[in-house]
């Protein structure tokens, strides 16, 4: 209950702070996702009324962009690059290993809620492929072994 209340107040606060910017919707969605980890369905009516848009319009925008999510993510989101330079350096084998190790596919979250896995289409780290990003941390020349140690280190830290 209190969680819902604070969700509403966070969304309200963000929306009213930004609504007068030209093209405010994306900045609003970014701030909401930064604050809550995702964009809850219940926030759509608030955004829509503040921006004088229909709910369908707001939802249409959320669903158009791969980055915005409508479900809560795991504690950490792993963005694994699928694009060509990383493929040329063995990212497909790494991808199999990552899915295997986490036991999930892309767009899924591990049962313990620790990790979500998302594909990336180039992280601009093609000079050290294959690459991935976890939060703001970037990793290059990732191997099966280095992936495991990165993940294991995170698990012991948390």
């Amino acid at each position: 209950m209190t969680e819902t209340v604070s969700m509403f107040s966070i969304v309200k606060e963000i929306t009213s702070a930004l609504k007068d910017k030209p093209g405010a919707l994306l900045p609003i969605l970014h701030d909401i996702q930064n604050a809550l980890g995702y964009i809850p369905a219940d926030s759509i009516p608030i955004i829509a009324s503040e921006l004088r848009l229909s709910r369908a319009e707001v939802h249409g925008v959320i669903s158009f962009y791969h980055y915005f999510r409508e479900t809560p993510p795991g504690k950490q989101t792993i963005h694994l690059c699928r694009a060509e330079s990383c493929q040329a350096m063995g990212s497909k084998k790494l991808e199999e290993h990552v899915k295997d190790k986490l036991g999930i596919d892309y767009h899924e979250t591990t049962a313990d809620g620790r990790f979500s896995l998302e594909p990336a289409y180039c992280l601009g780290l093609c000079s050290c492929s294959p690459s991935m990003q976890i939060g703001e941390d970037v990793y290059g020349r990732v191997s099966n072994e280095s992936f495991d140690s990165i993940i294991n280190e995170m698990e012991t830290l948390s």
Binding site: G23, L51, S127
Partner: protein
């Protein structure tokens, strides 16, 4: 005496551990009671050497790399702070052939300075272009850009001066400058490097653009995948405001230019300029029909310049040294320099800025050192995910927009992705169709439906089913995409697909017998 030690903060270096190296060097120096000043510079773009640590001594800047954590005590033991001998020593950076042979105009400062230090920027030729521009008429500024021969570095290679001139000559109480920093092309990272490693040069270029055409508001549309660039840009923008390089009265000229970074949200198509403007307006990134041109009716219906990061970052040196200076580099109608990105399976990956005209072979072998795996190079993809695959027989093509167009390929944003002989080109073609299907904005049927259908057909081909029917079907689909798409996502996906099919038919199961039939 305090020794200056440089450890890059570029995310390519961070991805290889530069953050931990910087911390460890500081700690080790403290423990040994040595006086150092640590500077986080940008990357020199020689990524096989990253993390590349540099020390500044009277002989110049001496490099050590690639440095791992375990090397640090040994480096101190070897007195690297005074340029001591060590297995990782690469000597003076300026003498490394890969670096020395480059022609760095746009990247002149990158790797040299602390990217977010305005003092560093100013003492290394920064804001000289703007100072000149502030004393010129808009038309004269545009003329310098036109004279430079600069063509858009974002992909389409449209002459920048002509675009600016249209906006200059379209009267409006409000105009906009948009920097396209969506850099979605795989195999490219030059925009990222500029924004992380020399953000002021982009800010200066946009400010000059604004003053030239009378636009007072700029937006940098940055992909969300680049958090480090985001931070660097915001820091630099804040400093530029504080020092009067942005805002209401730029350097006392009475001219105004405001600048803001806006984040994308992971849609490749939003790099297309009209989709980008829809996104900036807070909508789904559906591609707009053209005309009207953005230069006449762009963001919020106002005249708008949309330029790539590299295009805009090349403007300060053009205004500093003159259009002719820039124009003297290059070949044919490809003037100036291109920051080329060597990526994929290559021994010496990195950023190589050179005048147009070098051949692919020179880049791949003289600079790149061949494949990283040591196996023969089978194919390279130039110009991002919509660029053609080139076989070895085309490696003598010079990097030049027209020479590439003549072999049905594109230079694009200058990314070169190398594949060795283990690559399966039918699989790469399938991926291109899959990518198009994932990223299609959905506005036109050929792209939306054709890409999904294309992937199915290639899967059938890979499985060896009905080649005599499926190969012509794939070619038909590509024709439809080529001719029936509104934008280059659908319209150019056939480049990688058909080039793979035409140059590497054996990977599609086509035997000589079958293709003769």
């Amino acid at each position: 005496m305090t020794v200056i030690v440089y450890v890059p903060n570029d995310s390519g270096a961070l991805a290889l551990g530069a953050g931990r190296i910087a911390a460890a060097i500081e700690k080790e120096a403290r423990q040994r009671g040595l006086d150092i000043k640590l500077v986080r510079n940008g990357s020199r773009g020689m990524f096989w050497l990253e993390p590349l640590v540099e020390v500044e001594i009277p002989e110049g800047r001496i490099g050590y790399g690639p440095v791992q954590l375990k090397d640090i005590p040994g480096l101190f033991d070897a007195d690297f702070l005074n340029g001591g001998a060590h297995a990782l020593k690469v000597g003076p950076i300026d003498e490394i052939p890969y670096f020395k042979k480059q022609q760095r105009l746009t990247f002149a400062r990158i790797g040299l300075t602390n990217p977010v230090s305005l003092e560093d920027y100013l003492s290394n030729d920064g804001y000289r272009g703007l100072n000149n521009a502030l004393a010129m008429s808009g038309a004269d500024i545009v003329k310098q850009v036109t004279d430079s021969g600069l063509r858009g570095r974002g992909g389409a290679a449209f002459p920048t001066g002509i675009k600016w001139n249209t906006v200059l000559n379209t009267p409006s109480e409000q105009k906009y400058i948009i920097c396209n920093a969506d850099e979605g092309d795989s195999g490219t990272f030059s925009d990222r490097m500029v924004m992380e490693d020399d953000p002021f040069v982009l800010i200066e270029g946009m400010t000059i653009a604004g003053i030239a055409v009378g636009a007072t508001q700029g937006y940098i549309y940055l992909r969300v995948e680049y958090p480090h660039a985001h931070r660097a840009l915001n820091t630099a923008i804040e400093k530029a405001y504080q020092a009067g390089y942005l805002g209401e009265d730029i350097q006392g000229s009475g001219k105004q230019f405001d600048l803001e970074v806006r984040l994308g949200a992971g849609a490749y198509v939003c790099g297309e300029e009209t989709s980008l403007m829809e996104s900036l307006e807070g909508k789904r990134g559906l591609v707009r029909f053209k005309p009207p041109l953005p230069a006449i009716s762009g963001l919020f219906g106002k005249p708008t310049i949309v330029n790539n990061v590299i295009s805009l970052a090349s403007v300060p040196i053009i205004l500093d040294k003159g259009g002719e200076y820039y124009r003297d580099f290059g070949m044919g109608r490809s003037r100036g320099t291109l920051p080329i990105q060597l990526a994929g399976n290559i021994k010496y990956p990195g950023l190589v800025e050179l005048a147009f005209g070098l051949t692919l072979r020179e880049l791949l072998y003289d600079y790149g050192g061949g494949s990283a795996s040591g196996r023969p190079i089978k194919a390279v993809q130039v110009g991002g995910p919509l660029g053609a695959y080139l076989p070895e027989s085309q490696f003598d093509t010079p990097l030049d927009y027209e020479a590439f167009a003549a072999i049905w390929a594109v230079v694009g944003h200058g990314g070169i992705v190398v594949f060795d002989d283990t690559v399966d080109m039918a699989e790469m073609a399938r991926y291109s169709m899959e990518f198009c299907a994932i990223e299609s904005c959905g506005k036109c049927t050929p792209c939306r439906i054709g890409s999904t259908r294309g992937e199915e057909v290639i899967k059938d081909i890979i499985a060896g089913r009905d080649l005599h029917k499926n190969i012509p079907l794939l070619r038909d689909l590509c024709d439809t995409l080529l001719n029936g798409s509104l934008c280059a996502l659908g319209g150019m996906t056939p480049y990688p697909v058909l080039s793979a099919l035409n140059h590497f038919p054996e990977d599609f199961g086509i035997t000589e017998q079958a293709s003769a039939a």
